[in-house]
Symmetry: C2
Subunit: 282 residues, 2 copies
Amino acid sequence: MVNWFKEIENGEIEYGYAFQNKLFEDQSKFQDIKVIDTLAYGKMLILDDFVMLTESDEFVYHELIAHIPVCFHKNPEKVVVIGGGDGGTVRELVKHDCVKEVVLCEIDGMVVDVCKKFFPAVAGRLDHPKVDVKVGDGMDYVRGLENEVDLMIIDSTDPVGPGEGLFTGEFYQSVSKALKPDGMMAAQSESPWAEAEFLNRIHNNIRTGFDYVRPYIASVPTYPRGLWSWTLGSHSPIDVDQFDYERFAKVEPELNYLSDAMVRACFELPKFYRKKLSVLNQ
Amino acid sequence: MVNWFKEIENGEIEYGYAFQNKLFEDQSKFQDIKVIDTLAYGKMLILDDFVMLTESDEFVYHELIAHIPVCFHKNPEKVVVIGGGDGGTVRELVKHDCVKEVVLCEIDGMVVDVCKKFFPAVAGRLDHPKVDVKVGDGMDYVRGLENEVDLMIIDSTDPVGPGEGLFTGEFYQSVSKALKPDGMMAAQSESPWAEAEFLNRIHNNIRTGFDYVRPYIASVPTYPRGLWSWTLGSHSPIDVDQFDYERFAKVEPELNYLSDAMVRACFELPKFYRKKLSVLNQ
């Protein structure tokens, strides 16, 4: 007997996944949390009926949100991840010797517990000695930081529900203040195929905290429309040639999406996306 | 009142699209043909319950299958398109002055008629003086050609139903024979996220007709898993530097996906895809 989980986007598009068993469902203080074993993608984590990750394709999202900023920053010793309670971003970050300390601040402790239990290959490095997991409000946590973080990674859900505040201009300004002067930020920034107004709201908010922003893209089949974006923020220009290919070479053999050539390719943006984003046309 | 059309992949994944009206449905000699007006993507052409194209994103597929091979070939005067009855590939081909003659061979005349009626922005150049539309079996047509075509474009449906024969080794061998010695071929070659066995069957069949094959990729949100591939076939090595950027520059202002940088990027393949394809690992 096969069941179907269906994610609905805007009442217009439905993404359905056949699964055998619901392995977990509970309501945390913040959201509904489900784990199902899909036929197509293996185990899937679902928050408030939106797909967060699957065993088969999570590597793309986590490689892109972690290794790109780590290899752009000059020396990212202290890294803070906001959200990302599944642990996939942390797993990628601790592969780098230059990263000495990772703080993860996730609002929903149940996400962390569920991922440790059902997704050990994703969450397994949350216990790494370099990692400090804090359960709490990322916005509050970031507000308390000043000039002390090298790299901040905003690994949030969509801008509805508990993730909403992580897309505001106020939040990006506090991220900017938390960073050292040569600090950098990377945030997930939704699908390039989404409405221009929605994408511009996100990017214009990032721009209130950062003079330089640079989006990059990759294919994530279980995210709406199959193409995803992340955006770097910095106080100095972000030139693709700054990327530290030597640092990257040490982790590259373990990766499944990114190669040297794919790093360059993910910064090349389709024309329809470049035209949409006002931050790229100023 | 909103209705839903649902495309099902392997009984495992469902892609649903809300629509207002079914504008057309009929059974041709070969397949079921539907046209609906979706909320998310505008009008959509559906063959045997698989999405063929939508008004909103067809530009990606057609830019990639047409301009890439045209700009790789030294002088593509005579181009043959097999399949492609919607006319989108032809629309892109006739933009090039160097292309003097385009023959389209589509097995299903009803597809051509339906697209002329419901998708004039796609099919509108099928009446162009450089274009000759033949309704008939592409395999038979190609078998009758020898050493006379510069560029052959295989713009087929999936390898089930009427498109099945267009993925066999025998077919690619007859494509090879139809081409002049310096001829080239481009074929749609399914999603990089599909099963390795399926992708290898396609590429190994192409290899029986061509010594050199080179896949390239782009994001198509209404195709399964959101990432698509096409493959060039040639009798001589295919070097990205051969691409004729001057020829491309004349059409580039009209395009919505490809820029010079995106041409280079679409030949960079994610590691998971490179590892799957045995033709890339020989």
